[in-house]
Symmetry: C2
């Protein structure tokens, strides 16, 4: 008998009919002979509704009280889903994050899970109950409710799977799995059957919005196989697992260079022009940005000419104003001639563990882009990823061309 953690997002439990479908799916899993723990998010728009209520009171809510407010959404979901499961004749119990033994730190609204003590869950499982746990929340050392931030329910599911030594962690979502690229851009994008934690982390960091990086890291650290699949279809989705597991599976198959092509249109490029070429300038600039809470993605520094040079970097579009404010304050200090920005850029990335042993991959990428007359403005690489900043208008062309050039549309 296996132990499975099933996680359903807000769109899967948005109304009574969807709740009932989820309940049926959970019961199926139980009837296949498994012990089942279900993790759910708040129904549909409830979190947004709660935030709207909060905004009518204050623009700067206390973080502890915001967690007190937002955690009710998941509590509504676990109660309703448990009722639906019970109505279908199965024994079930709902548990809030604190009741489930999920201990978090004191960083309200984006707490980290410190530990899980699943005594209560195991007791209820041993009574042959389906256990429905509220995602996104835990109890902190002050006995307060703390929420886990964006993607928090995925994190709850993966961490619970680790603590319970579950055989599988299934993340049910409104897409059928992880694709070689966005099917809305490239029609012959294919579902990936197996992907490594490392590749998935790179995908999350380069624009693919299937899962937050934190959950994948917890999965990797604890060797939890994560199965991303559709709530509304019985078909298998994508299994996120270790590189070794994938290599042994792929062994008999053709050699795989790339796993996916991703893109991120949420990028702005800033250039600080005509800086003095002296030590400490970059440290001063990026130090100020870090203090301002701005996440800098790619950085290039031009070769110095006449003891002056330029530094360019990218940030999220939503951080542009904040970035301009920080740079405006330190510009005199930096002795920079000018600060310019370009909102019409995007990042295109290719990802694959295969590129570790194939040094020609980067050259192929640059050639494909050049053949398509796409200018590369910035480049950054990791062991299993190459990213290029290009003109936003050229994204679809670039993604389509790269997807085809690396044969991602062909493979089984």
């Amino acid at each position: 008998m296996g132990l499975v953690v099933m996680k359903f997002g807000g769109s899967s439990v948005a109304d009574a009919d969807k709740m009932k479908k989820v309940a049926a799916r959970v019961i199926d899993k139980k009837k296949q002979g498994n012990r089942v723990v279900v993790v759910v998010s708040a129904p549909g728009d409830m979190t947004d509704d709660l935030i709207a209520m909060c905004e009518k009171i204050t623009a700067t809510p206390d973080d502890r009280e915001l967690d007190m407010l937002l955690s009710t959404g998941e509590q509504v979901s676990i109660a309703l889903l448990s009722m639906a499961i019970k109505k279908m004749g199965q024994s079930v119990i709902s548990l809030t994050g604190p009741q489930a033994g999920i201990y978090a730190d004191t960083t309200h609204t984006k707490a980290r899970i410190i530990k899980i003590i699943p005594t209560k869950i195991l007791k209820e499982l041993s009574r042959r109950k389906i256990v429905v746990v509220a995602g996104f929340q835990g109890i902190n050392p002050n006995d307060d409710i703390a929420t886990l931030g964006r993607g928090g329910s995925d994190l709850t599911a993966v961490a619970l799977a680790a603590a319970l030594k579950a055989d599988f962690c299934e993340i049910y979502t409104d897409v059928a799995g992880v694709y070689t690229t966005d099917p809305r851009v490239v029609a012959d994008a294919r579902k990936i059957h197996y992907i490594s934690y490392e590749e998935m982390l790179e995908m999350a960091g380069t624009g693919a919005q299937v899962m937050q990086g934190r959950s994948i890291e917890v999965g990797k650290k604890n060797k939890v196989d994560i199965h991303v699949r559709s709530t509304f279809s019985p078909a298998d989705g994508t299994i996120i697992t270790s590189e070794e597991a994938i290599t042994s599976r792929r062994g008999a198959m053709e050699e795989v260079l790339l796993t996916a092509v991703t893109f991120d249109r949420n990028q702005v490029k800033l250039s600080v022009v005509d800086l003095p070429d002296i030590p400490g300038i970059a440290a001063k600039m990026f130090g100020a940005l870090a203090v301002g809470g701005i996440n800098v993605d790619m950085i290039i520094q031009s070769a110095a000419q006449d003891k002056r040079n330029d530094i360019s970097f990218t940030v999220s579009r939503s951080d542009l104003k904040k970035t301009q404010k920080v740079l405006g304050k330190i510009r005199k200090d930096l002795k920079a001639a000018n600060i310019i920005y370009d909102k019409d850029v995007a990042k295109v990335s290719i990802i694959g563990v295969g590129m570790k042993s194939h040094p020609g991959v980067a050259a192929t990428m640059f050639t494909v882009l050049a053949d398509n007359k796409i200018n590369i403005e910035m480049i950054s690489t990791s062991e299993i990823k190459i990213s290029c900043i290009i003109d936003n208008a050229a994204v679809n062309k670039a993604v389509t061309a790269l997807h085809a050039a690396f044969g991602l549309n062909k493979r089984q």
Copy 2:
């Protein structure tokens, strides 16, 4: 420095503007030099909305899960009210029922409070914080959330006031206090300044809907003075206190016979006609009704003729169908000729500790009704209350006449 428990009902926290008004009122109380604990209900229609969501899933929800669901309403209120108070510059913390140390029994949806351990509340008060507690909920011995049933937030407030030895328990509501009768029926009804627990209990039992009996009983048992007053006016309301306290206050004033006239239109009279006059018949009948969960209010049995007699009794209008079903089942057994019911009845009551020492009060009531050509169908009395079942159409006339006859419109 005093300690005050302030309780605000759902209509007082129905939207952001009302929340802000409540916050201002709470802060005023603090600035007057008090330590302040606030108890709140779920905002406006939220409980109804949650029940509607539940009904789309199942008509027979599990009680534990229903409590899990419904307790979120108060949690939303405490978070939002705390944000509003903080926004106005005061230090504040919200606590769920479990966090506040409110321990309940395992009777889900209508749990009793077993004990209160207010350690956390006292600690936060000592840090000069306003403490906002979720009404209507506690934690039970299984570490589950349990709700306290109708009027549960009042109960939380009064029980907390007892546990904290508060100087006052203030129940804020949308009426200005307790009146000598319903001002919608009798225009010159007056606000009662002081009323005893016993009188208030009789009022709750005879149709006045200011507070549930349970809260008043807890107040009486623990000698908590309860101040019922308007959320939207600074004027004093009605203080519910001990008979001795009232007697000593009233001593210098004119002698008071009556405190209030109440009525209850939610009554149905049933008559089981032509029963054999043998021992055990009434026991069999009312035993069956009790097993069916039906609360019987007034009972009369006619004098036997020819070894046959009739039994009449009243139940809540909402229990009529259930009552008919139970009686239908045992009718043959009872050898009753017929069962008839009359939906056009109502109960009119007069209440006052003064009637203990004035045996003429009942006679005056019957005379007033007779003078107004109102027929009395049933009578029931307690030491401080007389109730009569009359024609529903005559209620306004009866209440107006009794209110005037006992001088309730005249007193200061």
